[in-house]
């Protein structure tokens, strides 16, 4: 009969389509963003961070970068603790993305100093040789609109103070973008929880090994030189050629990072490669 009666057909088709819709799309609202997945330390975006998030949306960054770390071994080592539902309660819309032309950004906050982000946004290939990310230097020339941001905060129900809104005057889209980058993944204390305790005696297996020095230099150039300058002579981060630390201290710093200075942890590199970098740093030390 439905083959002849379009009204009955339409009703049937709608009903059939709604079954899967209700189970997989409507029903999850009862489970998601509720008490079950709430995280106390997750807070709304500040005015500047929100402005940065909107720049991220405007420029279509989500076309190349995801913002969810999956609970897979390599991914947790590469990016950090896997993402939890409660971290996203203030995200409208979500920005999980679907493609990683560039790396995941869910845990980028606190990984690099602000200066790294400024330089990287202006000239990505300058900080990451071989990068195919477009330059975003034009963000320096666009300014944040405080009144618009106030309206956005009102719509989202995010708290703000008058000082916070006033402080937006003179801020550029670049400042906002960097603030947003530094917020990502910083809501939960995952870095402390994930820190691996180094036990036993730390002894450099490569001390003075010429091959290790060469490999260490290569690793340094790729991973450290953007901040610490070539040949350890310093960039916007400290110069290393006059730091006469014991090898063990260098190892710990590279392995754990230094949180207050936004020196990232390179534990994922593995102890062998960290020792090679240490060997290289040692070889370049300038005599006191």
């Amino acid at each position: 009969m439905w083959e002849r009666n379009p009204v009955i057909f339409l009703l049937l088709a709608t009903a059939v389509i709604m079954v899967g819709t209700i189970v997989t799309m409507v029903l999850p609202f009862a489970y998601v963003n509720t008490e079950r997945d709430a995280i106390e330390s997750v807070v709304p975006y500040t005015a500047l961070e929100l402005a940065g998030r909107d720049v991220y949306i405007k420029e279509g960054c989500n076309n190349c970068h995801t913002q969810t770390v999956r609970p897979l071994v390599a991914e947790v080592i590469r990016y950090g603790d896997y993402s939890k539902s409660g971290e996203f309660v203030y995200d409208r819309p979500h920005l999980w993305g679907s493609r990683r032309t560039g790396p995941d950004l869910a845990r980028i906050g606190g990984k690099y100093p602000d200066q790294w982000h400024y330089e990287h946004m202006r000239n990505p290939a300058g900080m990451v040789p071989g990068s195919n990310m477009p330059p975003y230097a034009f963000l320096d020339n666009r300014s944040v609109d405080p009144e618009l941001t106030r309206r956005k905060m009102d719509v989202l129900g995010f708290p703000y103070t008058e000082e916070e809104i006033r402080a937006l005057a003179g801020k550029t889209d670049m400042d906002a973008m960097v603030a947003y980058m530094q917020k990502l993944g910083s809501d939960i204390p995952w870095r402390e929880q994930q820190r691996v305790a180094l036990v036993g005696e730390l002894e450099n297996p490569f001390s003075g090994d010429a091959a290790a020095i060469a490999e260490g230099r290569e690793l340094y150039d790729r991973n450290c030189a953007a901040c610490h300058g070539s040949g350890l002579r310093g960039g916007f981060a400290a110069s290393l050629d006059r730091l006469h630390y014991p090898e063990e201290v260098f190892f710990r710093i590279i392995h754990d990072g230094i949180q207050p200075l936004n020196m990232p942890s390179f534990a994922g590199m593995g102890s062998e490669r960290i020792w090679k970098i240490v060997t290289y740093i040692d070889s370049e030390q300038v005599a006191p």
């Binding site: 083959e3 088709a13 899967g20 279509g60 409208r92 990505p124 062998e272």
Partner: protein, 467 residues
């Protein structure tokens, strides 16, 4: 029996605009594929990859595919119902609104007004225009069906009606948002919920825009081209109802291993695998319709387009469920494999099918034979080769990329940095760009062939006969 005065004029206009937007989409696609290898091709903020990419996808899906379905639906509904379109005025209004929306979308996306939701990037005022457009289209098609003079409703009409409802529901729910200004809004849903709603939309747009309407086209144009009916009406019924029932459960397979509830992920995976059956129901129905007709693959260029299209659909609906398996998804999701997969569907299935159907329409719309069948064959081979180069290079690239991402040293550290994997992609991206250029050439041949047919130029054969 008297022959009603069908409105082919509106069909013709939608064909033209669909082809134009299709060509734009492929051109932009080629440009952004080269931006990935030469970042200096990102000219300032308006023509950077992040803004051009949604222009590429939206021009392809909504400009070319949906524009094409408007044309083909209007053609089919009149023939299948044996009455003219219910309202010519409404159809005309729809044509204008459609083009206005496409232009507005392209301009606003380049200006950076975006909701960021994939395949639903346009800001809320355009969403409202799209809703108006769709309601107008739905009313026109449904009223034509209500007034029909043919008692039965052929399979194609069911697929059309399901698409009309499905798209409306998906689009409206996913588009719910709170405006801040004319150009900025925030989604009504937050975080994990927003992601789940988005992929319920994103994947089922593939169902209701890129599967159900093309099947309507396939079920109509294959038998029309071969002159032999569809193999089984009953198989058509079973495949139809199971397809539209199962599809809506599968959206979350885009979100495997993300923080959405596990049971949603598991359901999505299970239903994705089950979806092979209804998809292949239509594939098998198509193949069996060719029983005793396979010689037409050589003699009838239209059949080549349709059969290759349904073959790519078949491959696509095997690959899709495979990707929905959690372990496999953990490996290839987020890699170049995915664009390879998507483009097998869009370049292989959708475009071959719509182009084949347009070739079928050309003599009926312009009242003369196609300008050149050899050119149509050239078009076929160029897009086939371009598509294969594209997809195969991206599959290999995806596996390379995934292996590098997951590779670990003996001490548990990562073997490669992210940049190592990025550098490894450059050769594949060059090859992909080459595939895109060949594909674009094929589209160029298609545009030329249709344009020459429309202009009523003599075919090379006629010219030769007169000489």
């Amino acid at each position: 029996m008297d022959r009603p005065a069908y409105n082919y004029d509106i069909v013709k206009h939608f064909v033209h605009w669909s082809i134009l937007w299709g060509a734009v989409s492929v051109l932009v696609g080629v440009i952004i594929s080269f931006q990935l290898v030469m970042p200096q091709l990102n000219f300032g903020e308006y023509l950077s990859y992040g803004r051009l990419r949604p222009v590429h996808t939206n021009a392809g899906i909504f400009g070319f595919a949906v524009g094409g379905f408007f044309a083909l639906f209007y053609y089919m509904v009149q023939r299948l119902c044996r009455v003219p379109i219910w309202s010519n005025g409404l159809a005309r209004f729809q044509l204008w609104l459609f083009n206005i929306i496409i232009v507005l979308s392209a301009v606003t996306l380049l200006l950076g007004f975006s909701q960021s939701k994939e395949y639903h990037e346009m800001e809320w005022p355009i969403d409202i225009l799209i809703a108006v457009l769709w309601v107008g289209f739905t009313i026109n098609i449904l009223m034509t069906i209500f007034k029909r003079r043919e008692p039965q409703m052929y399979i194609s009409l069911w697929f059309m009606m399901a698409a009309l409802i499905g798209v409306a529901v998906l689009f409206v729910v996913n588009g719910l948002s709170v405006p801040v200004t004319l150009f900025k809004s925030y989604s009504a849903f937050a975080g994990t919920n927003d992601a789940n709603v988005q992929w319920w939309y994103g994947h089922n747009a593939v169902a209701m825009v890129l599967t159900v309407p093309p099947l309507a086209v396939f079920y109509y144009f294959l038998p029309k081209s071969t002159g032999v009916p569809i193999y089984s009406h009953r198989l058509g019924i079973v495949a139809f109802w199971s397809l539209i029932f199962m599809y809506l459960w599968t959206g979350a397979h885009h979100l495997l291993w993300t923080p959405i509830p596990d049971w949603v992920q598991t359901l999505a995976m299970a239903f994705s695998i089950m979806l092979i059956a209804p998809s292949w129901g239509s594939v098998i129905n198509g193949y069996l319709s060719m029983n005793g007709q396979w010689h037409q693959m050589r003699e009838n260029y239209l059949v080549k387009f349709f059969i290759l299209a349904i073959t790519f659909y078949g491959l696509q609906t095997l690959q899709g469920p495979m990707q929905a398996v959690r372990s496999f998804s953990g490996f290839i999701h987020y890699t170049e494999w995915i664009p390879g997969h998507v483009h097998m569907g869009t370049m292989g299935w959708i475009t071959l099918l719509i182009c084949g159907a347009f070739y079928y329409l050309a003599p009926r719309l312009y009242g003369r034979e196609l300008y050149s069948i050899p050119l149509a064959n050239l078009h076929f081979w160029l897009v086939l080769i371009g598509q294969l180069i594209y997809s195969v290079s991206m599959w290999i690239a995806g596996v390379v990329q995934a292996s590098m991402w997951h590779s670990l040293n003996d001490d548990g550290s990562l073997t490669y940095t992210f940049v190592d994997s990025l550098l490894a992609m450059y050769p594949y991206w060059w090859i992909r760009g080459l595939g895109g250029v060949i594909y674009l050439l094929g589209i160029g041949v298609f545009v030329y062939n249709i344009a020459m047919t429309a202009r009523g130029a003599q075919t090379p054969q006629q010219a030769a006969q007169q000489a």
